[in-house]
Amino acid sequence: MSIFDSSAVGRRAYRFPDLDVPEVGLDELIPREHQRQSPPGLPEVSEVEVVRHFTQLSRKNHGVDVDFYPLGSCTMKYNPKINEDMAALSGFNRLHPYQTENTVQGALALMHDLAGYLSAIAGLASTTLQPAAGAHGELTGLMIMREFQRHRGDEQRDEVIIPDSAHGTNPASAMMVGCRVREVPTDSRGGVDVSALREMAGPKTLGLMLTNPNTLGVFDENILEIAEIIHQVGGLLYYDGANANAILGMVRPGDMGFDIVHFNLHKTFSTPHGGGGPGSGPISVSEELTPFLPYPLVTKTASGYEFFRPAQTIGRVKAFYGNFGVLVRAYAYVRTIGADGMRQISETAVLHANYLMRRLQKSFYLPYDRHCMHEFVLSGMNQKAFGIRTLDIAKRLLDHGIHAPTVYFPLIVDEAIMVEPTETETKETLDRFIDAMYAIAAEAEANPDLLKDAPHSTPIGRLDEAAAARRPVVRWEASVEDEA
Protein backbone atom coordinates (compact mmCIF):
# COMPACT_ATOMS: atom_id res chain seq x y z
CA MET A 1 0.00 0.00 0.00
CA SER A 2 1.28 3.44 -0.89
CA ILE A 3 1.16 6.24 1.67
CA PHE A 4 -1.07 8.10 -0.79
CA ASP A 5 -3.80 5.55 -0.07
CA SER A 6 -3.99 6.89 3.52
CA SER A 7 -4.25 10.48 2.35
CA ALA A 8 -7.36 12.56 3.15
CA VAL A 9 -7.84 16.19 2.10
CA GLY A 10 -6.93 18.62 4.88
CA ARG A 11 -5.35 16.06 7.23
CA ARG A 12 -1.98 17.18 8.50
CA ALA A 13 0.77 16.36 10.95
CA TYR A 14 2.40 19.76 11.17
CA ARG A 15 1.38 23.37 11.35
CA PHE A 16 3.75 26.22 10.57
CA PRO A 17 4.12 28.88 13.30
CA ASP A 18 2.98 32.44 12.57
CA LEU A 19 5.39 34.27 10.31
CA ASP A 20 7.73 36.44 12.42
CA VAL A 21 9.72 37.96 9.55
CA PRO A 22 8.58 40.28 6.72
CA GLU A 23 6.68 38.39 4.05
CA VAL A 24 8.26 38.21 0.59
CA GLY A 25 6.12 37.43 -2.44
CA LEU A 26 6.91 34.23 -4.35
CA ASP A 27 7.22 36.16 -7.63
CA GLU A 28 10.14 38.11 -6.15
CA LEU A 29 12.01 34.88 -5.38
CA ILE A 30 11.19 32.60 -8.32
CA PRO A 31 10.34 33.90 -11.80
CA ARG A 32 6.73 33.10 -12.66
CA GLU A 33 7.67 30.84 -15.58
CA HIS A 34 9.57 28.57 -13.21
CA GLN A 35 6.70 28.24 -10.73
CA ARG A 36 4.54 25.14 -10.92
CA GLN A 37 0.92 25.77 -11.90
CA SER A 38 -0.73 22.99 -9.92
CA PRO A 39 -0.15 21.95 -6.31
CA PRO A 40 2.32 19.08 -5.82
CA GLY A 41 0.75 15.67 -5.28
CA LEU A 42 1.75 15.18 -1.66
CA PRO A 43 0.04 12.79 0.76
CA GLU A 44 -2.02 14.40 3.52
CA VAL A 45 -1.58 12.18 6.56
CA SER A 46 -1.22 12.39 10.34
CA GLU A 47 2.05 11.71 12.13
CA VAL A 48 0.95 8.31 13.44
CA GLU A 49 0.03 7.23 9.91
CA VAL A 50 3.46 8.22 8.64
CA VAL A 51 5.16 6.27 11.43
CA ARG A 52 2.97 3.19 10.93
CA HIS A 53 3.40 3.28 7.17
CA PHE A 54 7.19 3.21 7.30
CA THR A 55 7.32 0.78 10.22
CA GLN A 56 5.10 -1.62 8.24
CA LEU A 57 7.33 -1.22 5.21
CA SER A 58 10.44 -2.02 7.25
CA ARG A 59 8.78 -5.21 8.55
CA LYS A 60 8.31 -6.40 4.98
CA ASN A 61 12.00 -6.07 4.31
CA HIS A 62 14.82 -8.49 4.99
CA GLY A 63 18.05 -7.35 6.56
CA VAL A 64 20.91 -8.76 8.56
CA ASP A 65 19.17 -7.43 11.69
CA VAL A 66 16.22 -9.71 10.83
CA ASP A 67 17.84 -13.02 9.90
CA PHE A 68 20.63 -14.87 8.07
CA TYR A 69 21.89 -13.19 4.88
CA PRO A 70 24.41 -15.52 3.14
CA LEU A 71 24.81 -13.36 0.02
CA GLY A 72 28.09 -14.51 -1.53
CA SER A 73 30.80 -11.90 -2.21
CA CYS A 74 28.82 -9.29 -0.26
CA THR A 75 29.98 -10.12 3.29
CA MET A 76 26.64 -9.37 4.95
CA LYS A 77 28.02 -9.54 8.47
CA TYR A 78 26.24 -8.06 11.46
CA ASN A 79 27.09 -4.37 11.95
CA PRO A 80 27.69 -3.75 15.67
CA LYS A 81 25.52 -0.97 17.04
CA ILE A 82 28.45 0.66 18.82
CA ASN A 83 29.53 1.82 15.34
CA GLU A 84 26.30 3.82 15.13
CA ASP A 85 26.81 5.30 18.60
CA MET A 86 30.26 6.53 17.59
CA ALA A 87 29.09 7.97 14.27
CA ALA A 88 26.31 9.80 16.11
CA LEU A 89 28.71 11.66 18.40
CA SER A 90 28.16 15.36 17.80
CA GLY A 91 31.92 15.92 17.42
CA PHE A 92 31.69 13.85 14.25
CA ASN A 93 28.21 14.28 12.86
CA ARG A 94 27.92 18.06 13.28
CA LEU A 95 31.16 18.91 11.49
CA HIS A 96 31.10 21.10 8.42
CA PRO A 97 33.46 20.16 5.58
CA TYR A 98 34.67 23.77 5.28
CA GLN A 99 35.82 23.98 8.91
CA THR A 100 39.49 24.84 9.28
CA GLU A 101 41.94 22.07 10.13
CA ASN A 102 42.61 23.34 13.64
CA THR A 103 38.92 22.93 14.55
CA VAL A 104 38.63 19.31 13.32
CA GLN A 105 41.74 17.72 14.79
CA GLY A 106 39.79 14.74 16.16
CA ALA A 107 38.30 13.93 12.77
CA LEU A 108 41.68 14.25 11.10
CA ALA A 109 43.28 12.02 13.75
CA LEU A 110 40.59 9.41 13.03
CA MET A 111 41.26 9.55 9.27
CA HIS A 112 45.02 9.43 9.81
CA ASP A 113 44.82 6.43 12.12
CA LEU A 114 42.24 4.52 10.06
CA ALA A 115 44.41 4.96 6.96
CA GLY A 116 47.34 3.61 9.01
CA TYR A 117 45.35 0.54 10.15
CA LEU A 118 44.30 -0.24 6.59
CA SER A 119 47.88 0.16 5.33
CA ALA A 120 49.01 -2.30 8.02
CA ILE A 121 46.29 -4.83 7.09
CA ALA A 122 47.20 -4.46 3.40
CA GLY A 123 50.95 -4.66 4.05
CA LEU A 124 51.43 -1.52 1.94
CA ALA A 125 52.78 1.99 2.47
CA SER A 126 49.85 4.40 2.40
CA THR A 127 46.08 4.70 2.02
CA THR A 128 43.49 7.11 0.64
CA LEU A 129 40.05 7.05 2.21
CA GLN A 130 38.36 8.99 -0.59
CA PRO A 131 36.77 6.41 -2.91
CA ALA A 132 33.06 6.05 -2.20
CA ALA A 133 32.71 2.35 -3.02
CA GLY A 134 34.67 -0.68 -4.19
CA ALA A 135 34.30 0.05 -7.89
CA HIS A 136 35.32 3.66 -7.24
CA GLY A 137 38.42 2.28 -5.54
CA GLU A 138 39.11 0.17 -8.64
CA LEU A 139 38.78 3.21 -10.89
CA THR A 140 41.06 5.27 -8.64
CA GLY A 141 43.59 2.44 -8.49
CA LEU A 142 43.65 2.04 -12.26
CA MET A 143 44.05 5.81 -12.73
CA ILE A 144 47.05 5.67 -10.40
CA MET A 145 48.47 2.73 -12.37
CA ARG A 146 48.12 4.64 -15.65
CA GLU A 147 49.66 7.79 -14.18
CA PHE A 148 52.56 5.81 -12.75
CA GLN A 149 53.23 4.13 -16.11
CA ARG A 150 52.96 7.48 -17.90
CA HIS A 151 55.54 8.98 -15.55
CA ARG A 152 58.06 6.33 -16.40
CA GLY A 153 57.41 6.65 -20.13
CA ASP A 154 55.35 3.49 -20.48
CA GLU A 155 52.25 5.03 -22.01
CA GLN A 156 51.69 2.17 -24.46
CA ARG A 157 50.40 -0.03 -21.62
CA ASP A 158 46.66 -0.25 -22.19
CA GLU A 159 45.79 -3.87 -21.42
CA VAL A 160 44.39 -5.07 -18.13
CA ILE A 161 44.39 -8.83 -17.52
CA ILE A 162 41.37 -10.09 -15.59
CA PRO A 163 40.33 -13.69 -14.77
CA ASP A 164 37.05 -15.07 -16.16
CA SER A 165 35.87 -15.56 -12.56
CA ALA A 166 36.24 -11.84 -11.70
CA HIS A 167 33.64 -9.46 -10.38
CA GLY A 168 32.01 -7.58 -13.28
CA THR A 169 33.26 -4.29 -11.88
CA ASN A 170 36.87 -5.22 -12.76
CA PRO A 171 36.48 -5.17 -16.56
CA ALA A 172 34.07 -2.23 -16.28
CA SER A 173 36.68 -0.18 -14.36
CA ALA A 174 39.40 -1.11 -16.85
CA MET A 175 37.20 0.09 -19.72
CA MET A 176 36.50 3.33 -17.83
CA VAL A 177 40.20 4.24 -17.86
CA GLY A 178 40.40 3.50 -21.58
CA CYS A 179 42.07 0.10 -21.38
CA ARG A 180 41.41 -3.14 -23.19
CA VAL A 181 40.47 -6.20 -21.16
CA ARG A 182 42.29 -9.51 -21.65
CA GLU A 183 40.45 -12.39 -20.04
CA VAL A 184 42.62 -15.09 -18.47
CA PRO A 185 40.93 -18.48 -17.99
CA THR A 186 40.53 -20.40 -14.73
CA ASP A 187 42.42 -23.68 -14.32
CA SER A 188 40.84 -26.95 -13.18
CA ARG A 189 41.54 -26.18 -9.52
CA GLY A 190 39.78 -22.81 -9.69
CA GLY A 191 42.86 -20.57 -9.84
CA VAL A 192 44.45 -18.45 -12.58
CA ASP A 193 45.71 -20.52 -15.53
CA VAL A 194 49.37 -19.57 -15.08
CA SER A 195 50.60 -20.68 -18.50
CA ALA A 196 47.82 -18.69 -20.22
CA LEU A 197 48.76 -15.69 -18.08
CA ARG A 198 52.40 -16.03 -19.08
CA GLU A 199 51.43 -15.84 -22.76
CA MET A 200 49.21 -12.77 -22.26
CA ALA A 201 51.59 -10.70 -20.17
CA GLY A 202 53.88 -8.37 -22.11
CA PRO A 203 54.90 -4.80 -22.91
CA LYS A 204 51.22 -3.78 -23.33
CA THR A 205 50.26 -5.01 -19.87
CA LEU A 206 49.19 -2.23 -17.51
CA GLY A 207 48.48 -4.80 -14.84
CA LEU A 208 46.46 -7.69 -13.49
CA MET A 209 43.32 -7.32 -11.39
CA LEU A 210 42.83 -10.25 -9.05
CA THR A 211 40.61 -11.23 -6.15
CA ASN A 212 42.33 -13.66 -3.78
CA PRO A 213 40.55 -15.69 -2.56
CA ASN A 214 38.63 -15.43 -5.80
CA THR A 215 34.90 -15.54 -6.43
CA LEU A 216 34.94 -19.34 -6.19
CA GLY A 217 36.11 -18.87 -2.59
CA VAL A 218 39.42 -20.45 -3.54
CA PHE A 219 42.83 -19.12 -2.49
CA ASP A 220 45.25 -19.02 -5.41
CA GLU A 221 48.47 -20.64 -4.09
CA ASN A 222 50.30 -19.60 -7.26
CA ILE A 223 50.02 -15.95 -6.32
CA LEU A 224 53.77 -15.39 -5.91
CA GLU A 225 54.45 -16.85 -9.36
CA ILE A 226 51.56 -14.81 -10.79
CA ALA A 227 52.99 -11.62 -9.23
CA GLU A 228 56.42 -12.40 -10.63
CA ILE A 229 55.04 -12.89 -14.16
CA ILE A 230 53.29 -9.51 -14.07
CA HIS A 231 56.14 -7.61 -12.43
CA GLN A 232 58.70 -9.08 -14.83
CA VAL A 233 56.91 -7.54 -17.80
CA GLY A 234 56.61 -4.20 -15.99
CA GLY A 235 52.94 -4.50 -14.98
CA LEU A 236 51.30 -3.84 -11.63
CA LEU A 237 49.05 -6.03 -9.47
CA TYR A 238 45.68 -4.77 -8.31
CA TYR A 239 43.95 -6.59 -5.44
CA ASP A 240 40.16 -6.52 -5.46
CA GLY A 241 39.47 -6.54 -1.74
CA ALA A 242 35.88 -7.72 -2.00
CA ASN A 243 36.94 -10.98 -0.36
CA ALA A 244 39.27 -9.48 2.23
CA ASN A 245 37.15 -10.99 5.00
CA ALA A 246 39.06 -14.22 4.38
CA ILE A 247 42.58 -12.89 4.96
CA LEU A 248 42.54 -10.39 7.84
CA GLY A 249 45.55 -10.89 10.07
CA MET A 250 46.51 -14.05 8.13
CA VAL A 251 48.20 -12.82 4.97
CA ARG A 252 48.80 -9.32 3.65
CA PRO A 253 48.13 -8.51 -0.03
CA GLY A 254 51.40 -6.54 -0.06
CA ASP A 255 53.27 -9.74 0.86
CA MET A 256 51.51 -11.58 -1.97
CA GLY A 257 53.04 -9.04 -4.37
CA PHE A 258 50.11 -6.67 -4.86
CA ASP A 259 50.83 -2.98 -5.49
CA ILE A 260 47.30 -1.66 -4.90
CA VAL A 261 44.47 -2.95 -2.72
CA HIS A 262 40.96 -1.69 -2.23
CA PHE A 263 38.92 -2.49 0.85
CA ASN A 264 35.16 -2.41 0.98
CA LEU A 265 34.51 -0.92 4.40
CA HIS A 266 30.83 -1.82 3.95
CA LYS A 267 31.79 -5.49 3.61
CA THR A 268 34.86 -6.29 5.67
CA PHE A 269 34.63 -3.49 8.22
CA SER A 270 30.97 -3.78 9.21
CA THR A 271 29.55 -0.52 7.93
CA PRO A 272 25.97 -0.37 6.58
CA HIS A 273 25.48 -2.24 3.35
CA GLY A 274 22.64 -2.42 0.92
CA GLY A 275 19.90 0.15 0.56
CA GLY A 276 22.48 2.67 -0.57
CA GLY A 277 24.97 2.27 2.27
CA PRO A 278 26.68 4.57 1.46
CA GLY A 279 29.76 2.50 0.71
CA SER A 280 33.41 3.28 1.12
CA GLY A 281 36.33 1.84 -0.87
CA PRO A 282 39.69 3.08 0.44
CA ILE A 283 42.78 1.99 -1.46
CA SER A 284 46.22 1.19 -0.10
CA VAL A 285 49.28 1.46 -2.33
CA SER A 286 52.99 0.65 -2.33
CA GLU A 287 55.75 3.15 -1.61
CA GLU A 288 56.42 3.83 -5.30
CA LEU A 289 52.74 4.58 -6.03
CA THR A 290 52.24 6.81 -2.97
CA PRO A 291 53.11 10.10 -4.74
CA PHE A 292 50.19 9.53 -7.14
CA LEU A 293 47.44 9.15 -4.53
CA PRO A 294 44.45 11.48 -4.74
CA TYR A 295 44.46 14.47 -2.39
CA PRO A 296 43.86 15.47 0.31
CA LEU A 297 45.70 13.02 2.55
CA VAL A 298 46.16 13.58 6.28
CA THR A 299 49.61 13.85 7.83
CA LYS A 300 50.72 14.26 11.44
CA THR A 301 53.12 17.11 12.16
CA ALA A 302 54.58 18.58 15.32
CA SER A 303 51.71 21.09 15.46
CA GLY A 304 48.91 18.61 14.78
CA TYR A 305 47.13 16.92 11.87
CA GLU A 306 47.08 18.58 8.44
CA PHE A 307 45.83 17.90 4.96
CA PHE A 308 48.46 17.63 2.24
CA ARG A 309 48.71 17.09 -1.48
CA PRO A 310 50.99 14.29 -2.77
CA ALA A 311 53.63 15.42 -5.27
CA GLN A 312 52.26 13.75 -8.43
CA THR A 313 48.65 13.35 -7.33
CA ILE A 314 46.02 12.23 -9.84
CA GLY A 315 43.79 14.91 -8.28
CA ARG A 316 40.55 14.63 -6.38
CA VAL A 317 38.26 11.64 -6.88
CA LYS A 318 35.48 12.79 -4.58
CA ALA A 319 34.22 16.00 -3.03
CA PHE A 320 35.67 16.66 0.41
CA TYR A 321 36.98 13.66 2.38
CA GLY A 322 35.23 10.44 1.36
CA ASN A 323 32.13 9.14 3.12
CA PHE A 324 33.27 10.34 6.50
CA GLY A 325 30.43 8.86 8.57
CA VAL A 326 31.32 5.43 7.18
CA LEU A 327 34.97 5.97 8.11
CA VAL A 328 33.93 6.62 11.72
CA ARG A 329 32.04 3.31 11.84
CA ALA A 330 34.95 1.36 10.34
CA TYR A 331 37.36 3.00 12.79
CA ALA A 332 35.09 2.04 15.68
CA TYR A 333 35.03 -1.55 14.37
CA VAL A 334 38.81 -1.82 14.06
CA ARG A 335 39.35 -0.38 17.53
CA THR A 336 36.68 -2.63 19.05
CA ILE A 337 38.05 -5.81 17.46
CA GLY A 338 41.75 -5.04 17.87
CA ALA A 339 44.67 -6.68 16.08
CA ASP A 340 44.14 -10.13 17.64
CA GLY A 341 40.45 -10.08 16.82
CA MET A 342 41.15 -9.33 13.15
CA ARG A 343 42.66 -12.75 12.64
CA GLN A 344 39.78 -14.39 14.50
CA ILE A 345 37.28 -12.75 12.14
CA SER A 346 38.80 -14.50 9.17
CA GLU A 347 39.42 -17.81 10.93
CA THR A 348 35.79 -18.00 11.96
CA ALA A 349 34.48 -16.85 8.58
CA VAL A 350 36.54 -19.56 6.85
CA LEU A 351 35.48 -22.22 9.37
CA HIS A 352 31.80 -21.35 8.90
CA ALA A 353 32.08 -21.54 5.12
CA ASN A 354 33.84 -24.91 5.18
CA TYR A 355 31.29 -26.32 7.64
CA LEU A 356 28.40 -25.28 5.39
CA MET A 357 30.14 -26.44 2.21
CA ARG A 358 30.88 -29.94 3.48
CA ARG A 359 27.38 -30.48 4.81
CA LEU A 360 25.58 -28.99 1.80
CA GLN A 361 27.75 -31.07 -0.53
CA LYS A 362 25.52 -34.04 0.40
CA SER A 363 22.60 -32.55 -1.52
CA PHE A 364 24.17 -30.05 -3.90
CA TYR A 365 26.87 -30.39 -6.53
CA LEU A 366 30.22 -28.84 -5.57
CA PRO A 367 32.15 -28.08 -8.78
CA TYR A 368 35.48 -27.11 -7.13
CA ASP A 369 35.85 -29.69 -4.38
CA ARG A 370 38.62 -28.38 -2.15
CA HIS A 371 38.90 -26.40 1.08
CA CYS A 372 37.29 -23.03 0.61
CA MET A 373 38.03 -19.70 2.23
CA HIS A 374 35.22 -17.41 3.45
CA GLU A 375 32.73 -18.47 0.76
CA PHE A 376 32.04 -21.30 -1.68
CA VAL A 377 30.10 -21.94 -4.86
CA LEU A 378 27.62 -24.78 -5.28
CA SER A 379 25.75 -25.62 -8.44
CA GLY A 380 22.06 -26.40 -8.82
CA MET A 381 22.94 -29.11 -11.38
CA ASN A 382 21.58 -32.00 -9.25
CA GLN A 383 18.21 -30.29 -9.01
CA LYS A 384 18.15 -29.29 -12.70
CA ALA A 385 17.26 -32.93 -13.49
CA PHE A 386 13.88 -32.34 -11.80
CA GLY A 387 13.24 -29.15 -13.77
CA ILE A 388 14.29 -26.99 -10.81
CA ARG A 389 16.60 -24.06 -11.40
CA THR A 390 18.82 -22.23 -8.95
CA LEU A 391 16.39 -19.32 -9.02
CA ASP A 392 13.64 -21.62 -7.64
CA ILE A 393 15.92 -22.78 -4.82
CA ALA A 394 16.78 -19.18 -3.99
CA LYS A 395 13.12 -18.13 -3.93
CA ARG A 396 12.12 -21.06 -1.72
CA LEU A 397 14.73 -20.06 0.88
CA LEU A 398 12.76 -16.86 1.46
CA ASP A 399 9.94 -19.01 2.85
CA HIS A 400 12.39 -20.09 5.57
CA GLY A 401 13.02 -16.46 6.50
CA ILE A 402 16.54 -16.62 5.07
CA HIS A 403 17.93 -14.33 2.38
CA ALA A 404 18.97 -16.14 -0.80
CA PRO A 405 22.66 -16.63 -1.59
CA THR A 406 24.14 -14.90 -4.65
CA VAL A 407 22.90 -16.79 -7.71
CA TYR A 408 24.18 -17.22 -11.27
CA PHE A 409 27.57 -15.82 -10.29
CA PRO A 410 30.42 -16.47 -10.91
CA LEU A 411 29.55 -17.01 -14.55
CA ILE A 412 31.93 -19.95 -14.95
CA VAL A 413 29.72 -22.19 -12.76
CA ASP A 414 26.45 -23.42 -14.26
CA GLU A 415 23.43 -22.66 -12.02
CA ALA A 416 25.78 -21.11 -9.45
CA ILE A 417 24.80 -20.73 -5.78
CA MET A 418 27.39 -18.64 -3.96
CA VAL A 419 27.23 -18.82 -0.17
CA GLU A 420 29.07 -16.55 2.28
CA PRO A 421 27.98 -17.09 5.88
CA THR A 422 30.39 -14.58 7.55
CA GLU A 423 31.81 -14.93 11.06
CA THR A 424 28.94 -13.32 12.93
CA GLU A 425 26.44 -16.21 12.83
CA THR A 426 25.92 -18.90 15.47
CA LYS A 427 26.20 -22.62 14.74
CA GLU A 428 22.44 -22.88 15.34
CA THR A 429 21.79 -20.40 12.54
CA LEU A 430 24.14 -22.25 10.19
CA ASP A 431 22.38 -25.54 11.05
CA ARG A 432 18.98 -23.98 10.40
CA PHE A 433 20.23 -22.90 6.96
CA ILE A 434 21.52 -26.42 6.26
CA ASP A 435 18.16 -27.91 7.30
CA ALA A 436 16.35 -25.46 5.02
CA MET A 437 18.61 -26.35 2.08
CA TYR A 438 18.14 -30.11 2.70
CA ALA A 439 14.37 -29.60 2.85
CA ILE A 440 14.46 -27.68 -0.44
CA ALA A 441 16.56 -30.39 -2.10
CA ALA A 442 13.98 -32.97 -1.00
CA GLU A 443 11.12 -30.81 -2.29
CA ALA A 444 12.86 -30.41 -5.63
CA GLU A 445 12.47 -34.16 -6.08
CA ALA A 446 9.10 -34.72 -4.44
CA ASN A 447 7.17 -31.55 -5.16
CA PRO A 448 8.93 -29.37 -7.73
CA ASP A 449 5.85 -27.19 -8.35
CA LEU A 450 6.07 -25.93 -4.78
CA LEU A 451 9.50 -24.50 -5.61
CA LYS A 452 8.54 -23.07 -8.97
CA ASP A 453 5.84 -20.91 -7.36
CA ALA A 454 7.89 -19.94 -4.30
CA PRO A 455 8.02 -17.84 -2.22
CA HIS A 456 4.65 -18.49 -0.57
CA SER A 457 4.96 -16.73 2.79
CA THR A 458 6.44 -13.35 1.85
CA PRO A 459 4.34 -10.17 1.47
CA ILE A 460 4.78 -10.45 -2.31
CA GLY A 461 5.04 -13.78 -4.13
CA ARG A 462 7.13 -14.66 -7.19
CA LEU A 463 7.83 -11.50 -9.11
CA ASP A 464 7.66 -11.32 -12.87
CA GLU A 465 11.28 -10.29 -13.32
CA ALA A 466 10.94 -10.02 -17.08
CA ALA A 467 8.05 -7.57 -16.80
CA ALA A 468 9.90 -5.64 -14.09
CA ALA A 469 12.85 -5.21 -16.44
CA ARG A 470 10.83 -4.59 -19.60
CA ARG A 471 8.23 -2.23 -18.18
CA PRO A 472 9.57 -0.84 -14.93
CA VAL A 473 7.42 1.59 -12.96
CA VAL A 474 10.07 3.69 -11.28
CA ARG A 475 8.08 6.57 -9.85
CA TRP A 476 4.68 7.24 -8.38
CA GLU A 477 2.53 9.50 -10.50
CA ALA A 478 -0.50 11.40 -9.30
CA SER A 479 -3.71 10.33 -10.94
CA VAL A 480 -5.97 13.02 -12.35
CA GLU A 481 -8.21 13.18 -9.24
CA ASP A 482 -5.17 13.56 -6.97
CA GLU A 483 -4.05 16.59 -8.93
CA ALA A 484 -7.48 18.19 -8.69
Partner: protein
Amino acid sequence: MSNPADLLFTKDHEWLDVKEDVVRIGITEYAQDELGDIVFVDLPAVGDELTEGDSAAVVESVKAVSEIYAPVAGTVTAVNTDLEESPELINEAPYSGGWIFEIQIGEGAALKDTLSMEEYETSLKEA
Protein backbone atom coordinates in the same frame (compact mmCIF):
# COMPACT_ATOMS: atom_id res chain seq x y z
CA MET B 1 14.92 -30.44 -28.77
CA SER B 2 13.88 -29.73 -32.37
CA ASN B 3 16.50 -27.68 -34.13
CA PRO B 4 15.42 -27.20 -37.74
CA ALA B 5 17.67 -29.46 -39.74
CA ASP B 6 18.35 -26.97 -42.54
CA LEU B 7 20.12 -24.46 -40.32
CA LEU B 8 23.80 -24.17 -39.48
CA PHE B 9 25.04 -23.60 -35.92
CA THR B 10 28.01 -22.10 -34.10
CA LYS B 11 29.69 -23.14 -30.89
CA ASP B 12 28.42 -19.85 -29.43
CA HIS B 13 24.85 -21.20 -29.65
CA GLU B 14 23.82 -19.10 -32.63
CA TRP B 15 21.88 -20.48 -35.58
CA LEU B 16 22.52 -19.36 -39.15
CA ASP B 17 20.02 -19.47 -41.98
CA VAL B 18 22.04 -19.03 -45.17
CA LYS B 19 20.22 -17.83 -48.30
CA GLU B 20 22.83 -17.28 -51.03
CA ASP B 21 25.09 -14.51 -49.65
CA VAL B 22 22.75 -13.37 -46.84
CA VAL B 23 22.81 -15.00 -43.41
CA ARG B 24 19.98 -14.63 -40.89
CA ILE B 25 21.15 -15.05 -37.29
CA GLY B 26 19.43 -15.94 -34.04
CA ILE B 27 20.14 -17.92 -30.87
CA THR B 28 19.27 -21.56 -30.31
CA GLU B 29 16.50 -23.11 -28.22
CA TYR B 30 19.19 -24.26 -25.79
CA ALA B 31 20.65 -20.74 -25.52
CA GLN B 32 17.31 -19.08 -24.81
CA ASP B 33 16.49 -21.72 -22.18
CA GLU B 34 19.83 -21.18 -20.44
CA LEU B 35 19.48 -17.40 -20.51
CA GLY B 36 15.96 -17.37 -19.12
CA ASP B 37 13.50 -14.54 -19.72
CA ILE B 38 15.00 -12.09 -22.18
CA VAL B 39 14.26 -8.49 -21.29
CA PHE B 40 16.24 -6.41 -23.78
CA VAL B 41 17.98 -6.76 -27.12
CA ASP B 42 20.49 -4.20 -28.36
CA LEU B 43 20.38 -4.50 -32.14
CA PRO B 44 23.01 -3.43 -34.68
CA ALA B 45 22.11 -0.76 -37.25
CA VAL B 46 21.38 -1.61 -40.86
CA GLY B 47 24.53 -0.75 -42.79
CA ASP B 48 26.94 -1.59 -39.96
CA GLU B 49 30.14 -3.12 -41.32
CA LEU B 50 31.22 -6.04 -39.16
CA THR B 51 34.27 -8.24 -39.15
CA GLU B 52 34.07 -11.87 -38.12
CA GLY B 53 33.78 -12.25 -34.36
CA ASP B 54 32.62 -8.66 -33.76
CA SER B 55 29.96 -8.19 -31.13
CA ALA B 56 26.91 -7.47 -33.31
CA ALA B 57 24.08 -7.48 -30.77
CA VAL B 58 23.55 -7.82 -27.04
CA VAL B 59 20.87 -10.00 -25.48
CA GLU B 60 20.02 -9.24 -21.89
CA SER B 61 18.06 -11.68 -19.73
CA VAL B 62 17.06 -11.69 -16.08
CA LYS B 63 20.17 -13.83 -15.48
CA ALA B 64 22.90 -12.55 -17.76
CA VAL B 65 24.01 -10.25 -20.55
CA SER B 66 25.32 -12.06 -23.65
CA GLU B 67 26.89 -10.84 -26.83
CA ILE B 68 25.88 -12.10 -30.25
CA TYR B 69 28.86 -12.33 -32.56
CA ALA B 70 29.05 -11.78 -36.30
CA PRO B 71 29.71 -15.28 -37.73
CA VAL B 72 31.32 -13.76 -40.82
CA ALA B 73 32.54 -10.40 -42.11
CA GLY B 74 29.94 -8.36 -43.95
CA THR B 75 27.26 -5.68 -43.85
CA VAL B 76 24.12 -5.73 -41.73
CA THR B 77 21.18 -5.72 -44.15
CA ALA B 78 18.21 -6.17 -41.79
CA VAL B 79 17.42 -6.21 -38.07
CA ASN B 80 14.38 -7.61 -36.30
CA THR B 81 12.86 -4.41 -34.93
CA ASP B 82 10.00 -6.43 -33.36
CA LEU B 83 12.51 -7.34 -30.64
CA GLU B 84 12.66 -3.72 -29.47
CA GLU B 85 9.11 -3.96 -28.18
CA SER B 86 8.91 -7.72 -27.67
CA PRO B 87 12.29 -9.21 -26.72
CA GLU B 88 10.38 -12.26 -25.39
CA LEU B 89 10.01 -13.40 -29.02
CA ILE B 90 13.47 -14.94 -28.63
CA ASN B 91 12.15 -17.12 -25.80
CA GLU B 92 8.89 -17.94 -27.54
CA ALA B 93 10.12 -18.60 -31.06
CA PRO B 94 13.92 -18.65 -31.20
CA TYR B 95 14.02 -20.08 -34.73
CA SER B 96 11.33 -17.91 -36.33
CA GLY B 97 9.95 -14.66 -34.84
CA GLY B 98 12.99 -14.35 -32.58
CA TRP B 99 15.60 -13.92 -35.32
CA ILE B 100 17.99 -11.06 -34.54
CA PHE B 101 19.72 -9.69 -37.66
CA GLU B 102 20.84 -10.46 -41.20
CA ILE B 103 24.27 -9.96 -42.62
CA GLN B 104 25.41 -9.91 -46.23
CA ILE B 105 28.65 -11.82 -46.52
CA GLY B 106 31.45 -9.42 -47.45
CA GLU B 107 33.67 -9.79 -50.47
CA GLY B 108 36.25 -12.52 -50.01
CA ALA B 109 34.70 -13.62 -46.70
CA ALA B 110 33.18 -17.02 -46.04
CA LEU B 111 31.48 -18.85 -43.20
CA LYS B 112 33.76 -21.24 -41.41
CA ASP B 113 33.71 -23.52 -38.37
CA THR B 114 29.93 -23.95 -38.58
CA LEU B 115 28.21 -27.03 -37.23
CA SER B 116 25.38 -29.12 -38.62
CA MET B 117 22.37 -29.75 -36.39
CA GLU B 118 23.73 -33.19 -35.45
CA GLU B 119 27.15 -31.79 -34.63
CA TYR B 120 25.63 -29.01 -32.54
CA GLU B 121 23.44 -31.39 -30.58
CA THR B 122 26.41 -33.67 -29.99
CA SER B 123 28.41 -30.70 -28.69
CA LEU B 124 25.61 -29.93 -26.20
CA LYS B 125 25.73 -33.48 -24.84
CA GLU B 126 29.49 -33.26 -24.38
CA ALA B 127 29.34 -29.99 -22.50
